[in-house]
Subunit: 244 residues, 2 copies
Amino acid sequence: MKRRFRIDIEYDGTNYCGWQRQTNGCSIQFAIEEALKPLNKNQQVTVIGSGRTDSGVHALNQVAHFDLETSLSTESIKDALNARTPEDILIHECKEVDSSFHARFSAVKRTYIYQVLEKPSAINRYYSWLPPFEFDFFILTKCAKLVEGKHDFTSLCRSATESKSKVCIVYESEWIKKEEMLIYKIAGNRFLHSMVRMLVGTMMEVARGKYTISDFKNLLENEPGEMQVYTAPAKGLFLLKVEY
Amino acid sequence: MKRRFRIDIEYDGTNYCGWQRQTNGCSIQFAIEEALKPLNKNQQVTVIGSGRTDSGVHALNQVAHFDLETSLSTESIKDALNARTPEDILIHECKEVDSSFHARFSAVKRTYIYQVLEKPSAINRYYSWLPPFEFDFFILTKCAKLVEGKHDFTSLCRSATESKSKVCIVYESEWIKKEEMLIYKIAGNRFLHSMVRMLVGTMMEVARGKYTISDFKNLLENEPGEMQVYTAPAKGLFLLKVEY
């Protein structure tokens, strides 16, 4: 009989084409699925994540589930996965869960952070964005507050986004200063394709003076007018946690 | 006429064989010296650092100096260096200094930090050490306090260390907890080869129960007895700053 397992995964997305399995095999999902094969008589195991992350995006705690017929303990499965995945993918936990648990559909809250630098950094070059212009931090904080609540994010997601409804509820949206980093934190019930990166990129356009806070407010009401949405680079984004 | 310049450098040491020029050309000093050549009619320029860092050790602010006959502004030199070095080396500042300034001999205080993890991390894998055993943080803090002051560090440096006197004055030595990281910070007038890594590794040996705090105290009085010094991995170490 198959058992269902939940895994909690940290990854450095720098060298991957994102979470989602691609034909060229450079995804995180692929790396984990390959690592699971030997535990499944070398047959494919499908791993379902809480959501996709784009190429170059990182995760401090991505959640995924899979079904496996095995007598192995959760600790042994975790160890086998860590032994068989590269060191930029790390399984923090493996737990057996009820078959009703679904990494994507059971999730009720997802939290992301986006790291911005104010001056160049060699150490953080793969984990943050250095905007190539001056900007006003206070304007960023004001924009962030406007994002909280229920909005139609049609203007703030890739047109390829599959889901019909573009309405998301944002529980928390704020910018904080932490040492040499500016960190945008956003928590919501769901996120559309590239939504966080587009929010960050576009808040920056306001903070550098290209648009007004009122333009940004209209965009959140799905009235973009002449406003151009800018997508911030993937490398600054981290999936922080997923709640069930 | 030659002018003397001071540069302040950040680097990610992961892909280098350390600061010091080697015959195989993988050092940080080499990368900067090569980048300077075009500013010196393609002739070699010697760059003198405040001190060496080992292979894999990082720097948030290393200081170096060099002499150059040029009419370029310091800003142009900085930009030229940043354009010609890989992105894991970053020149934060370039200043013209008096010819009496010497990056190594004029330095009066150097500060290092060493990052230790309590659980595995994919994101921080090149910037911290995860000891493969349990240890007592309180013992670490007690050991650190003993390091402050003037000691003969003969037992806590590589035998290849060139300098005759092994006496160093430690102004500050402490362990702090910062989110998921344990950070050892040490400031002193000078440091011997591998000294910080040996201090960290050996404090850990005490904190895991292999030796007593009193053994460690004897080691600091250059009476090592049967004690084995352990060198912590390079990747957790950062040269934080150099003061003049």
